[in-house]
């Protein structure tokens, strides 16, 4: 049985280790194959009749294509329960198309985090902000201390720009609201709309500032994502804050300790008005391309709390299942992320992963990179709108996502 996905290195090892118990008990051998060019490779495999048995899909935006082209096999009634029970209904909506469930959530990543060094916070007399005004005050205090508040870098090879789109998504959700966010995903609200342009400009006020970003106004396009993550860990820190997903420790590497009193820790990016922070998540869902009973067994296992607990033991993993107790997570970060997600009032999926791939993982990324490199914002937003396909498959998130 082959599972195709984007996991690499230690994540791939953790996945294969976590399914060993299933392999022993079922006698089914699971092979994981990962690709950095996942989306194109998966479609190419499917279209030439070389389908893997399952895929770990990081982009729900690809699911409608897999369904409309007849590749994704709907969950059977028996499997459907495991894919829909004890999971936030807003997430289930993303795996449901025309009342058929086509996928089961396997893993979640929290995007809306701000990372910092607790010792640097203590040295500068800073406290975790509870609102956007608090965050502005904190940033002003850091500038007054002669330091750069933000670490920022958007370069990441073929995926350059995703950090900028994550920033913009967080700002749209906070300052334009969840309703606009949902309509933006379907292009009902276009990129060139004033509310979206304002959110992008708000990001530009930070990213293109000479004083707010370490390295100045062009640092974002000069730095890689990894450079920016590591700038937090130098001693003394080159900058104080980095808005980055819960996987930042993997970017930093080495022996950096993660915890409220350790080398690095994080807080949810505050809301605009001081209410509970709205959160954006990314995640991975398992999709099957075969009716084989062995595939059903693996699909059921991956959707189970047992599989989640096995994987949680290895760290750097948060399950979407509410039945996985917080103490099943071995790391303080995983426990905290799971807690923040369960506690969130407004939870949305990463917008770029829900948009059609020609926009979400192409024009939006490259457009933001071009704008930070000096292009005119209005032209960039217009170009992104032009990249939206004339007829796109329905976005599953539209079915039930409501805050």
């Amino acid at each position: 049985m082959t599972v195709f996905g984007t996991l690499s290195d230690s994540e791939a090892d953790a996945f294969t280790t976590s399914v060993q118990q299933f392999e022993r008990s079922s006698g089914i051998n699971v092979r994981y194959v990962g690709s950095s060019n996942f989306e194109a490779d998966l479609l190419e495999r499917l279209r030439r009749g070389d389908a893997p048995d399952m895929a770990l899909l990081p982009q729900p935006g690809l699911l409608p294509t897999l369904v409309s082209e007849g590749f994704a096999v709907p969950w059977t009634a028996a499997l459907k329960a495991s894919a829909t029970e004890h999971i936030d209904p807003r997430l289930v909506g993303l795996s449901t198309i025309e009342n058929q469930v086509y996928a089961s959530w396997y893993e979640l990543t929290l995007k809306s985090l701000v990372w910092y060094s607790p010792s640097e916070f203590a040295r500068l007399g800073l406290t975790v902000p509870q609102s956007w005004n608090d965050l502005d005050a904190l940033v002003a205090k850091v500038v007054a201390a002669g330091l750069s508040p933000w670490c920022l870098g958007i370069r990441d090879g073929g995926a350059t720009g995703w950090v900028a789109t994550d920033w913009v998504e967080d700002l749209v959700l906070r300052f334009a609201g969840s309703d606009v966010y949902d309509r933006w995903i379907t292009h009902e609200v276009p990129f060139s709309d004033r509310v979206i342009a304002n959110a992008v400009q708000r990001f530009g006020d930070i990213a293109l500032s000479n004083t707010l970003v370490y390295g100045g106004s062009r640092a974002a396009v000069r730095n890689t994502v990894t450079d920016a993550a590591r700038q937090l860990t130098t001693s003394p820190s080159k900058c104080v804050l980095n808005r980055q997903a819960s996987f930042l420790p993997r970017l930093v590497g080495g022996r950096t300790a993660i915890g409220p009193t350790a080398d690095l820790w994080a807080f949810p990016l505050p809301s605009a008005d001081g209410a509970k922070a709205p959160l954006i998540v990314g995640g991975t869902m398992s999709v099957r391309f075969s009716n084989d009973p062995n595939v059903d067994q693996l699909a059921a296992y991956l959707a189970s709390a047992e599989a989640a607990r096995e994987r949680a033991k290895l760290g750097s993993f948060v399950s979407p299942l509410t039945t996985v107790p917080l103490d099943a997570y071995v790391s303080e970060l995983d426990r905290s992320v799971a807690g923040w997600l369960r506690d969130a009032d407004v939870l949305r999926f990463d917008a770029s992963d829900l948009m059609p791939p020609s926009v979400g993982v192409a024009a939006f990324w490259t457009g933001m990179a071009a704008w930070l490199g000096g292009a005119r914002l209005s032209s960039v937003l217009h170009e992104i709108d032009r990249a939206w396909p004339a007829t796109s498959n329905s976005i599953p998130g539209q079915v039930t996502v409501k805050s």
Binding site: F4, T16, S35, D41
Partner: protein
């Protein structure tokens, strides 16, 4: 019989002893020259390595002053002369420090950042010591010992000096230290240690075999025991890391062959430009640079072919450059 074991006469013995141990001691008459030539030879070797210039590196080897210290160490080991061993060792340490300092400065000035892709081939070779390097060093040590004892072979000393290859690995260590490349520094260090150990071993055997071992000149039993212990330690210092390294090289080379064959199965249209295949604990990694007339097959398929063959995890990264030709002709 030129190679038959033959004890040298007392006059020659004394001549060799004086020339070695008078020069191989800190504070002796040769110290100033030793330091100057250590600094100069390493600086020339460093620049030669950066320029990939074989003549410059050979010139540096000719200037290199280490041969006397190495032979003095070998002779002291045979006889168990502790003080002389310490003096020669101290002289060698001074030379190593001076050479590293010199190459470090050259590195800081001319090559503060050495990237793998830009490493000149001679420098790159010093990060990959192998059994052949060990063989060369052993034979060079033998030749040095023989030429020192036989006046009729003194003309070969310049050739011996070139074979005694301590300057290039030392220069490489200094350059890699300057560019903060820890892995390459360790590999060059391994090349240096194996060369040093093998040279002393070869010289010890040659000196003992061709007449420098004279029971009447030996130190106490304890001193002789210390000499043997150091000799055994040298054997271990040379063979253990090199055996481990050679085993890894053999394993990686076999894997490279396997990757080359698999690439032909994977996509016959591509041409391999560079291939780096490493087998490590828990899996293997392949970095492949290829060219071809069209987009190659996806990398995951090559990873799958290789992991099928090996029965373990294989991680593949592929960098592809399109080659295209376009010719045209127009007539009226």
């Amino acid at each position: 019989m030129g190679l038959a074991r033959k004890r040298i006469d007392d006059e020659q013995w004394k001549l060799v002893e004086d020339s070695l141990y008078d020069r191989a001691r800190p504070g002796g008459p040769a110290t100033r020259n030793f330091i100057v030539f250590s600094l100069l030879s390493s600086a020339i070797a460093s620049m030669g390595l950066l320029l990939n210039s074989a003549p410059a590196v050979i010139g540096a080897m000719l200037l290199g002053p280490f041969i006397t210290s190495l032979l003095a160490i070998a002779g002291a080991l045979i006889h168990g002369w502790g003080r002389r061993l310490a003096n020669a060792g101290a002289m060698l340490a001074i030379g190593i420090a001076m050479s590293m300092l010199s190459s470090f400065i050259v590195g800081k000035v001319f090559a503060p950042r050495l990237a793998d892709a830009q490493l000149p081939s001679q420098l790159l070779a010093l990060t990959k010591p192998g059994l052949l390097d060990l063989g060369i060093a052993l034979l060079a040590g033998l030749a040095a010992g023989y030429a020192t004892l036989r006046t009729e072979a003194a003309g070969a000393l310049s050739g011996v000096a070139v074979s005694v290859t301590l300057e290039p690995p030392l220069a490489a260590m200094g350059l890699f230290l300057a560019s903060r490349d820890g892995d390459a520094f360790r590999q060059a260090g391994l090349a240096f240690v194996t060369n040093l150990g093998a040279l002393v071993l070869g010289a010890t055997v040659a000196l003992a075999w061709f007449g420098f071992a004279d029971r009447s000149k030996r130190g106490t039993r304890t001193q002789a025991g210390i000499g043997i212990a150091i000799w055994v330690a040298l054997v271990i210092a040379v063979t253990v890391p090199l055996a481990v390294y050679s085993q890894r090289v053999i394993r990686n080379t076999a894997f490279e062959v396997q990757v080359g064959q698999s690439v032909r199965d994977w996509d016959p249209s591509v041409h391999i430009v560079t291939l780096d295949a490493q087998v490590a604990k828990g899996g293997a990694t392949v970095h492949l640079e290829i060219t071809g007339p069209r987009k190659p097959e996806p990398a995951w398929r090559l990873a799958e072919i290789l992991s099928d063959k090996r029965g373990s995890r294989v991680s593949v990264s592929v960098s592809f450059t399109l080659t295209s030709e376009d010719e045209a002709l127009s007539t009226r």
